[in-house]
Symmetry: C2
DNA sequence: GACTGGCACTCGTTACAGTCGAGTGCCAGG
DNA sequence: CCTGGCACTCGACTGTAACGAGTGCCAGTC
């Protein structure tokens, strides 16, 4: 049952060849392209074992072998060496850094960069509000009974929301509200705000209390409960590379999944410790994505994690390369955000 | 050369049948499904003429006829009757209205609604900054030499931008700057601001002038020059309906085009008079989209136009239905925005 | 015991021939 | 001007055969 070194080498060779050629690989081609030091017949025996163990399979009887999800998993966990980035890639990442003026800009550039470097679909989560702090809250009167609430977070995110007031509120009161709200909340982490918002209402001067109460409701709703996560996506056209071979002929389920923010967030947003996560084929919890693999990681300044980013592609992807790229991009974005 | 009424009726029948069945339509099937009052042979003669004039064509000799782009054009211009919305659609549109809390929310709901109703790819442009007015400008100190500039437009759009100051600026000065900027610019249309911004610098007190100058640069850059148009997209999965028949087998070029904001803006953003625009196949200026059609229109409160929205799909689409839906959605969105 | 060469076998791919039928163009007649 | 009839075209489908990549197995060798 144990797989000796040669069997592992065979598996690695199969994965590498299949990834690069996109065609089932047979025993003969294998010994030709790799220095395995044994004959095709021997390789065939090894293959039979690997197949029995579920690491590879035959699309049909007279075809070569193809890695299974399980095979890719073993490959990723134990057989792949880290592939250093090429100087060109390194330069591309650095070049993209300069000139970003905006959080939006940073995110858009990042996602395009990722898509371009990996030639896969790239996903980048905006810095999570839950992990941001309030930098400033602004109240802008729209009419006498309407305010626009604008929150600026330290990560650069800006969220706005319309507030319908219970009654007309004079301009002076708005200024007071603004002052009170900022005194209490500025600098606080969003996740810590609920009790503070509560206190705001209780401590508010009698005249302002009803207004403050509505404001508080909206604040809590917008900033905490309704986790306003945002996502940027790029490179969907890359799904069509490899013809219709990947994704067993139908892009449909993939495209559908990519439209669901919730799905994407689950895929790349589960920011565990700052390790890189690889989900292969049916390891994925979404049926629509059982023909796809995802490589993702968290990013942020230093060791804190603000959000996730990653790429999605066919299970037949260049895992070592994509893992290296995703990590590198995440690190650069983290540094970039640290500068703010 | 002139096409008599019956030939037009034949063309209409061909378009309608082909759109619904997705298969080339022959003379026999045509007389069976439509009351044309003539025999297949006669229809064949008409078809021969229509083909000669370039309105239909035969995929291959022993197949039925298929409309050409030119045929669709004639159909849209002269042969299609407006298709009233079904009550279900009307209800869907109304239902989506309620509960939008946000400009983002409105746009996202709209684009999803459009995609769902038309079963095509939907595109919605955010209200254009160029056509918005400044409601409020906020300056938030990040550090002593950095400000975050936040502009809130009357359309609900909020844009932010980081400003690197030439030197440290005390908090009091920031307040002064904020006051000056708002006094001058609040309420003005963005397109009218450049001279006003210029004036701001000239009129600024000597001590604030350098700071105001940098601020002015960023203001002009962000708000006017770099037309910060935004776009929302939904329903890309609909491209895969109709198998690989539409788009001659390759989604690639379409997906690529959809990733380019510039392209999308050109498609739906050319807000001419409030008419509905239909671009069919090669009428489109982008090669990537020569297998697609676009139905688009402008939206906004009353007769003013704030942005564009539309749908994109195969040339073989239900033009009357999509035109009706796009119009209806645009009208509702316009009303919704008027309420703010 | 592990590896290898050889061989029979499987089965998808390709090529080719033949049939079928939808759909056409044309023509003679009403 | 319309219609029925007819010959014709050509893609779609079917069946057959040859091909060959790749395998599993086995007997033989080191």
């Amino acid at each position: 049952m144990g797989l000796d070194d040669r069997k592992l080498a065979v598996l690695r060779a199969i994965v590498e060849d299949y990834v690069s050629t996109q065609e089932p690989v047979g025993s003969k081609a294998l010994v030709e392209r790799h220095q395995l030091g044994v004959s095709p017949a021997t390789v065939r025996n090894d293959m039979a074992v690997l197949e029995e163990e579920g690491y590879i399979r035959q699309p049909h009887t007279s075809a070569g072998r193809v890695p299974t999800d399980r095979g890719y998993r073993l490959f990723v966990d134990r057989l792949s060496r880290v592939k250093p980035l090429s100087p060109a890639e390194r330069r591309a990442i650095e070049r993209f850094l300069v000139g970003a003026v905006d959080l939006d800009d940073v995110v858009h550039r990042t996602v395009r960069l990722l898509a371009q470097l990996t030639r896969q679909v790239a996903v980048v989560q905006y810095p999570s509000l839950a992990r941001s702090s309030v930098r400033h809250l602004e109240l802008v009167p729209i009419s006498t009974t309407r305010l626009m609430l604008v929150m600026i977070a330290d990560t650069g995110r800006v969220e706005q929301r319309l507030v319908e007031l219970p009654g007309p509120v004079p301009a002076d009161d708005v200024m007071d509200l603004r002052r009170l709200v900022n005194e209490k909340l500025a600098g606080e982490r969003l996740s810590d705000t609920p009790p503070l918002v509560q206190a705001l209402v209780e401590e508010a001067p009698a005249g302002l209390r009803p207004t403050m109460a509505t404001l508080a409701t909206v604040l809590l709703e917008t900033l905490v409960e309704r986790h306003e996560e945002r996502i940027a996506l790029a490179g969907t056209a890359n799904l069509t590379r490899g013809g219709l071979l990947d994704f067993q002929g139908s892009l449909r389920p993939i495209l559908e999944a990519l439209e669901e923010e919730v799905v994407l967030l689950k895929l790349i947003g589960e920011t565990e410790p700052s390790t890189t996560r690889v989900l292969i084929g049916d390891e994925n919890e979404f049926d629509n994505l059982r023909a796809a693999s995802v490589v993702s990681t968290g990013y942020g300044p230093g060791t804190t994690i603000l959000g996730g980013l990653g790429v999605l592609g066919p299970t037949r992807m260049d895992y070592p390369g994509n893992i290296a790229t995703v990590r590198a991009v995440a690190r650069y974005v983290g540094e970039l955000l640290a500068q703010n």
